[in-house]
């Protein structure tokens, strides 16, 4: 048994590493298929605007080399891999040359974590509870209302919710600002900053919460209904336990595990959709950084952000896969 667990872990970690490496390779070559490179583009732009060449050819080449654009694409790829996996360095950015990419990402990351974290926690908690409740009360009016709304809305993209919320709450009713405008220099611990932060992040958070709550509702309802048919619940009911205790101890507890796995799996999709929400509100997170990076074709920053999000999703999945057999006795390794 010990040996089996050991092999399972080793196997899972190897798959993790291969997937990380492969997905990153795909991203690298896909981005390099875009014609041109940031340095040449920048130099050409200056030439066109001021009609003179700002630098000698050698200077441009040195600049390209320091950005990692020396040699053919495979040399670049090898160098980049060495830098990332051996030195944990994502290379110099072009948006803030020569600040390393990991530094500008870490500077922006707290904002994105704040936005996504808050939205995910709120929607996950509300969605799971509402879904378990709907599943528990299945067939009743309240269930069919919740279920129908959830069905209709769960696939609507976050960014459309964002656009409509701006229309409604920033223009028709002028309650919240359409753009994130918060002085980042202010004292973070002051009450004024907190109020401003709430005021400015309300719409971005709400547009993420609004849609994903219904997604969680659907999956929690599904899980709950499959639990309701299980023998142990019948037995608990036969024992005469109170309804609230049944719902809490027997239904919600058991629905939590698959819901948590769903959370780990969905992380990547949340990140994917939230870039555009950050863009719409000009939120100072990673999505905004990505916008600058794409505007000047800053490979290193784009790759860094994408790599970070791949890493997050894969690691969350790995952790889930490794602890799942420990929590859920129904899963036996090696079967």
């Amino acid at each position: 048994m010990r040996e089996k667990i050991f092999y399972y872990i080793i196997r899972r970690v190897i798959i993790y590493l291969i997937t990380l490496f492969l997905s990153f390779t795909i991203v690298f070559f896909f981005l390099r298929m875009i014609p041109g490179d940031p340095v040449t583009r920048f130099v050409r732009m200056i030439e066109q605007r001021y009609s003179f060449s700002p630098m000698s050819m050698e200077a441009i080449n040195v600049w390209k080399a320091s950005f990692g654009l020396e040699g053919d694409i495979f040399t670049q790829y090898r160098r980049y891999l060495e830098r990332v996996f051996l030195n944990f360095d994502l290379g110099p950015s072009f948006v803030a040359f020569p600040t390393p990419v990991q530094d500008i990402i870490t500077f922006r990351l707290p904002w994105t974590i704040f936005l996504l974290g808050l939205a995910t926690v709120i929607s996950w908690v509300i969605g799971t509870i509402a879904g378990a409740f709907a599943g528990w009360k299945r067939g009743t009016k309240i269930d069919s209302i919740l279920f129908s709304i959830a069905l209709a809305t769960s696939q609507i993209p976050y960014y459309i919710a964002a656009v409509l919320l701006v229309l409604l709450l920033s223009y028709v009713f002028r309650v919240f600002p359409p753009r994130f405008a918060l002085s980042l220099q202010a004292n973070i611990f002051s009450l004024e900053f907190m109020v401003n932060l709430f005021y400015n992040s309300f719409l971005p958070v709400l547009s993420l919460v609004l849609i994903s709550t219904f997604g969680w509702l659907l999956s929690a309802r599904f899980i709950t209904i499959s639990i309701v048919g299980e023998d142990y619940l019948l037995f608990a009911q036969a024992k005469g336990l109170k309804k609230i205790r049944l719902l809490n101890r027997y239904v919600l507890r058991n629905a939590l595990l698959p819901q948590a796995t769903g959370l780990a799996m969905s992380l990547g999709f949340i990140v994917n959709g939230s870039y555009l929400v950050e863009w719409i509100f000009q939120y100072p997170g990673v999505g905004g950084l990505l916008q600058f990076a794409i505007n000047i074709l800053d490979y290193n920053t784009i790759q860094g952000i994408v790599l970070m999000s791949i890493f997050t999703v894969l690691t969350a999945n790995l952790i889930m896969d490794l602890i799942y057999p420990l929590i859920d006795p129904r899963i036996r390794i090696g079967e």
Partner: protein
């Protein structure tokens, strides 16, 4: 005689198909309406625009309010909003269908190879599917759209590259469960080779799940396409619902209180995504009777 009988039976069974899920029917009706509108687009727009191009600016006065002549008014450039909306809807559906079709084709081929051949091939192909699945495609697609001149077909192909894993996963899971059924063993005993089993025995039975994969892929493709166009990227000569939202935001339709210019593409998109999602769950309800108990409305 038998032909007539067969035809009648087929028609009856397809009628039954529609009776089996209200959810599916609602979604299907909305999509059908959208497809009819798209097909009628040249006629309606010919009438509204009287031969002018839909993107040509200054055809009418700008910011006209909704009226009988212009049911949704005109925009910043004096273009008829209804005409733009119809043309955009057509393009969004077209992009969704082509790119979803390509993605599903790739997905089904990979899933069939993986699911049936099994073993090392399955492991490898499943690994590749999961690898592409974790890549956040939107940033990459946006970067590509920003620097490459895409036409409609090229755009569809680029979108399909990242949306095939969704359908591959659905189909693979189904093949894995079909493989264990007794009738496949029977086919093996009869001496069919795996190629024949794949096409004669498995493919007809996974057809509904290919439909499921297709709606998944279409949702993914339209999601990404709209996101890219929302930023004002992609081919400017091809109007799209996302691009209309971009225009509405960029030209200040909101500050001027011309809300309907934003609302018309936004509501159309909501209906589009809602109906696709209903079709998706409806299909699952029809072909997965165990679920019928669960959805239960």
């Amino acid at each position: 005689m038998t032909l007539v009988f067969d035809l009648k039976k087929k028609m009856l069974s397809s009628l039954n198909f529609f009776k089996r899920s209200i959810i599916f029917n609602i979604g299907f009706s909305i999509i059908t309406l959208f497809i009819i509108l798209s097909l009628a687009e040249p006629i309606i727009n010919g009438y509204i625009l009287k031969g002018q191009g839909v993107l040509k600016s200054g055809t009418f006065d700008k910011y006209l309010p909704p009226s009988l002549e212009h049911p949704l008014g005109t925009d910043h450039y004096g273009r008829d909003v209804l005409a733009l909306l119809l043309a955009s809807l057509k393009n969004s559906l077209l992009i969704g269908a082509i790119s979803g079709g390509i993605a599903t084709l790739i997905g089904v081929i990979i899933a069939m190879a993986a699911g049936y051949l099994g073993g090392k091939i399955d492991e490898t192909l499943n690994g590749v599917t999961n690898t592409v699945l974790v890549i956040p495609s939107l940033p990459i697609l946006i970067a590509v759209a920003a620097y490459t001149r895409l036409n409609l077909i090229l755009m569809c192909i680029v979108l399909a590259i990242f949306s095939w894993p969704a359908s591959a996963r659905v189909v693979r899971a189904q093949i894995l469960s079909l493989k264990e059924r007794p009738y496949i063993d029977l086919a093996k005993v009869t001496g069919l080779n795996s190629f024949e089993i794949m096409f004669k025995e498995i493919l007809p039975n996974i057809a509904p799940f290919i439909g499921l994969g297709l709606t998944n892929a279409i949702i993914g493709a339209i999601f990404a396409e709209t996101g890219i166009r929302l930023l004002g990227l992609g081919p400017g000569e091809i109007p799209s619902l996302g691009l209309m939202i971009n225009w509405a935001l960029a030209f200040g339709a909101l500050s001027l209180r011309h809300y309907h210019i934003l609302l018309s593409p936004a509501i159309t998109l909501i209906l589009l995504f809602t109906s696709l999602s209903l079709i998706n769950i409806g299909l699952e309800e029809i072909f997965n009777p165990r679920l019928k108990k669960i959805t239960g409305i």
